[in-house]
């Protein structure tokens, strides 16, 4: 490769021709000060602090944007350079307020640090103070444009990293400022309050609001975000046993972006509502007791129920928000100590469908490629997902791939999502006809001979069956049923099949249908047909809602699988675990989460242990769930808060938050990431893993662990999936893929095509309930809302519940935005306020999910067949009635 040789500070150095002077200097260990430059952002040479002198011609060059040229003699600290650099900084200071003493940015201000480094005490220039202090009413960040130095880091962060484009310069010269469209406040703009600009702003112009401590913080603990399945790395800044700030983690692992939940939603840790002492219910009210007493009561109850009614009258509902180690211990406790397979975790409600499909098709229930691959992909197909709300990091990745790297984007969604603007092709099928549409794509790909013949012949099974099943498939019928034109179907199929590296991303919109499993199989068929299944930059991934949804399943927190996806019926596998655990394990699959609730209602489940989940708020038919849980002989709940579910319990054990314990989370790409203890557990709360160990001990069947390391060691031994270096923060990208392929394919066979057939709905929609209600993910909330609604900032920002509906539908019912209505489903009703939506087609309405004080789930009926894999929790039929109790508001 061509190299360019030049001299920097009398030192001969060489680099490749695209390098800038700054890059080469840094590589050679020469420090050039910078302000506007940032490793994750494109350099723009805005601040000129980085200027250097080319001694050949005396030119002063901004080193961050000047490419190297051979023969340059660069001096980074000549007297001319220093003189100009100081003057540039003095000019900045001349228009910067003198309020450093009281500025919250304090010692974190890079402008101030730079002044100190260059030895500038006073500006010595006439001051031209900037005006325009912008007050913001949002609870997350404050903008003070008088402190802006126009480095455009915020603008570039918004346009290049999170691709929202809420900000750009407004005006020119001295009057220029970063501004939103029409200079409106952030809350009226495209801003999602992801906090990236705040993390990058060098001065006090952008600052976080409502920190309890504002100074420089020395203790920084690297951890993993506890909200969605993206698993962003975060830095917790700790002061006096409190988490003061959350920032995107170190720059070298990626662009360093978070969403509003990661940046500002972790204040639930210090919510005054946190449980501090164990509670035991006596005569209908809770009493604070000691840990020993609470554990003894629990152990007694479980032993009594087990002796009297048998092991299978007990059940354990674990959490996709707890660590791998905790889930591992909990299922071992359930299987080994309680002796039941009645085990499940919260992700089953939506993820079971996809897990089943993956298991049948590729032999491993999880996604098939890594996160950073998206940057290099040629096409992304997004099906039934709104990643802007449910997986913001993936949303950034998709938009970056499209906007910066030229990838094509196909959307399949009846709703207009935030990605629609970026899409090359948007297929808008009728609700619940996705399977028909996906099959039609497969049909076109086969008919037009766009398949990857070699891959199919060498690496797959069951192709002929797929061909047979599609032989009589009529594209015309498909177009009619789905409402998508033949041209669009052909266009999308052609784009997907000929793209090269094509990735598929799907969300709950497609998993939570009655044919959820079939939907995912149809997607897998597409990936197999085109050879994209294992391809780097190809593959499929499901958007998971919880930080450890994948890990909880990997750990065997499932009714039918032991850790590492060994079926419980598999005798040799079970024997292996029995020998290791020195216990007899139940051999029949247990009850899944929905079945548990049903059986509790029927009195067949007597005792239930729930960790970190809130089924009363999150499960379909919540009124029935509440009734069922209340009827239990014994319910014990481990949680951070006294949730709706915990209120029904006999014993409530205060759990420690993610910041108060060690462990690992597995994100939606299967990456195992550490969480680290940043602060001591609040009051008397304890980490879930300790609680489980103590509970086992209280039942006189202690588990042989004293530390988390011992748990991790056993886990590695028994679960080949997790047998790689835990100590490192995460495996390297190159090794990662091999590790996955090696450990994650227990079936050791080729992936298989799955013929799937679209079944029209059995029942005609009830004319009494003319609308289909979607329960949608909300950016500002997560899960059933137990934690996000305890985050002061998140809950204050989005306090109202709007029923989104198409304007034509609303007009026909004479409903204005702001009108109060009642939403009635066959099983429940909820009040709501109407808002017109441009994104929903007629006949669809939507409500935000994830607020514990607004349980949308109570509108949904529990599916009669109680199969978690076919739960249609995301949608139900409703009618909308005007509230007669009060007049519509003006």
């Amino acid at each position: 490769m061509q190299t360019v040789t030049l001299t920097i500070n009398q030192q001969e150095v060489s680099g490749h021709p695209e390098m800038t002077i700054l890059e080469l200097a840094r590589e050679s260990g020469i420090i050039i000060p910078t302000l506007c430059h940032h490793a994750s952002l494109n350099p723009i040479g805005a601040c000129r602090i980085c200027l250097v002198e080319n001694e050949v011609n005396g030119a002063l060059l901004a080193s961050c944007v000047t490419p190297i040229a051979s023969g340059m003699i660069i001096n980074t600290e000549s007297s001319r350079v220093l003189e100009h650099r100081k003057m540039i900084l003095k000019l900045m200071l001349a228009s910067h307020p003198d309020s450093c003493l009281v500025c919250d940015k304090g010692n974190r201000c890079q402008l101030r640090q730079m002044a100190a480094e260059l030895g500038i005490g006073s500006s010595e220039l006439d001051r031209i103070p900037q005006t325009a202090v912008t007050e913001e009413v949002n609870p997350f960040l404050i903008r003070d444009m008088s402190k802006c130095i126009l480095c455009a880091r915020c603008i570039r962060a918004c346009q290049e990293l999170v691709i929202e484009g809420a900000l750009d310069y407004y005006g020119r010269g001295f009057k220029a400022k970063p501004a939103t469209l029409f200079k409106s406040p952030l809350e009226n703009s495209e801003c999602t309050f992801c906090g990236t600009c705040v993390a990058l702003c060098p001065t006090g112009a952008l600052m976080e609001k409502e920190e309890f401590y504002r100074g420089t913080i020395g203790t920084v603990v690297e951890s993993t975000c506890p909200y969605c399945g993206c698993g962003c790395s975060i830095s917790l800044e700790v002061k006096e046993n409190r988490v003061a700030r959350v920032k995107p983690a170190a720059e070298d692992t990626g662009p360093g972006t978070l969403c509003v939940k990661g940046s500002y939603g972790c204040d639930f840790i210090h919510s005054p509502d946190r449980l501090t002492r164990p509670l035991v219910k006596e005569n209908g009210s809770f009493k604070e007791v000691s840990w020993d007493e609470a554990l003894a009561v629990t152990a007694d109850a479980f032993s009594r129920i087990k002796d009297k009614h048998g092991s299978d009258s007990l059940a354990v509902f674990g959490s996709a928000n707890c660590t791998n180690e905790e889930n591992y211990l909990l299922q071992r406790f359930a299987r080994g100590v309680l002796g039941t397979n009645n085990i499940d975790n919260g992700s089953s409600l939506y993820y079971a469908a996809a897990r089943q499909a993956f298991y049948d098709s590729v032999g491993f229930p999880g996604i098939t490629y890594t996160l950073n691959d998206l940057t290099g992909t040629d096409l992304i197909l997004v099906v039934g997902a709104e990643p802007a709300a449910s997986a913001p990091l993936i949303n950034y990745e998709i938009k970056r791939a499209v906007k910066l790297h030229g990838a094509k984007l196909i959307l399949i969604d009846p709703r207009k999502t935030k990605l629609t603007l970026f899409a090359d092709c948007w297929l808008r099928p009728e609700v619940d006809t996705d399977l028909m549409l996906l099959n039609s794509l497969a049909k076109v790909i086969i008919d037009e001979n766009l398949v990857d013949r070699e891959f199919i012949a060498r690496k797959t099974e069951n192709y002929q069956e797929l061909l047979d099943s599609l032989a009589t498939f009529s594209l015309e019928t498909a177009a009619e049923v789905t409402g998508v034109s033949l041209e669009q179907i052909r266009l999308a199929a052609g784009l997907y099949a000929t793209a090269g590296k094509a990735a598929i991303i799907f969300g709950t919109g497609i998993m939570q249908q009655l044919q959820g499993t079939e939907n995912v199989k149809a997607l897998l068929n597409l990936a197999l047909l085109t050879g994209n299944i294992w391809r780097k930059g190809g593959g499929l991934r499901a958007l998971l809602r919880e930080c450890n949804a994948q890990g909880a399943c990997d750990m065997g927190m499932l009714p039918d699988f032991l850790p590492g996806y060994y079926p419980v019926e598999d005798l040799p596998a079970r024997k292996k675990f029995e020998t290791h655990w020195q216990a007899n394990l139940p051999s029949k699959p247990g009850l899944n989460a929905l079945e548990m609730m049903q059986m509790a209602g029927e009195g067949k489940i007597k005792g239930l242990l729930i960790t970190g989940e809130n089924p009363v708020a999150g499960f379909p038919g919540s009124a029935l769930v509440e009734e069922a849980l209340a009827s239990l002989d014994f319910l014990v709940v481990q949680d951070l808060f006294l949730t709706e579910t915990a209120r029904l319990a006999q014993v409530v054990l205060p759990a420690a938050s993610f910041a108060e314990k060690e462990g690992t989370f597995t994100n939606l790409e299967g990456r195992v990431q550490k969480i680290r203890k940043a602060i001591e557990p609040l009051a008397e709360s304890r980490p879930d893993w300790k609680i489980i160990l103590q509970l086992a001990a209280a039942m006189n069947q202690p588990l042989p662990f004293n530390s988390l390391e011992q748990v991790q060691k056993e886990l590695e031994e028994l679960v080949p999936l997790y047998k790689y270096d835990w100590e490192e923060k995460s495996p390297k990208e190159e090794d990662y893929w091999e590790t996955m392929a090696e450990h994650r394919l227990p079936l050791k066979r080729f992936p298989r095509f799955s013929p799937v057939e679209y079944l029209p709905p059995l029942k005609a929609p009830d004319t009494q309930y003319p609308f289909i209600l979607l329960a949608e993910s909300a950016l500002f909330h997560s899960g059933s809302g137990s934690r996000s609604s305890k985050s002061g900032r998140l809950s204050r920002f989005s306090a109202s519940y709007f029923l989104q509906m198409n304007k034509i539908d609303a007009d026909m019912m004479k409903l204005q935005p702001g009108d109060r209505v009642k939403i009635v489903s066959p099983v429940g009703e909820l009040p709501a306020v109407v808002e017109h939506s441009e994104s929903l087609p007629r006949g669809l309405v939507s409500l935000p999910r994830s607020r514990s004080d607004y349980p949308v789930a109570l509108l949904f009926s529990s599916p009669p067949e109680t199969s978690a894999s076919s739960s249609a929790l995301q949608r139900c039929y409703v009618r909308i009635e005007r509230s007669c109790s009060d007049e519509p508001e003006k």
Partner: protein, 163 residues
Amino acid sequence: MNQKNREIDWSRLNEIIAEHCQERWSLIPLVQEIQNEYGYIPPDAIPIIADKLKLFPSAVQGVISFYAQLYTEPRGRNTVRVCRGTACHVRGGKTILKLVKKELGIDEGETTDDLEYTLETVACIGVCALAPSLVINQQVYGRMNPKKVGQLFKRKDENHEPA
């Protein structure tokens, strides 16, 4: 009548966008043509332009706000530029400006409600011999005095285009 808030006829907008949106670097020619059509760039057009060009609305606004000759507010049919150069200043240019302001009832940089006049100042127009002077559209009016200013703006309906 105040015409600033009148309804905008959007039909031409999409045509103009369609003509340009396939071009490379189409934004500036596009907004110039929109300005020629409407006399200014209606702010409500910004999201539409951004959508069609696949740009961020804030970035489109950024470009428009950068150039002094692009306007996001309605302009008068006639632009009055009063010279504030040295020679005119010495001969009472300041007073002329004050009189024009009074006559039109607007301040510098503003437009009359009937959209007839927009008032601006200019550093020097290069005809110092005729100081104090002002320019309406392309027509120079020299050796101004209070009486002449008064007469000038009485002829509202007349065309100020150069002869």
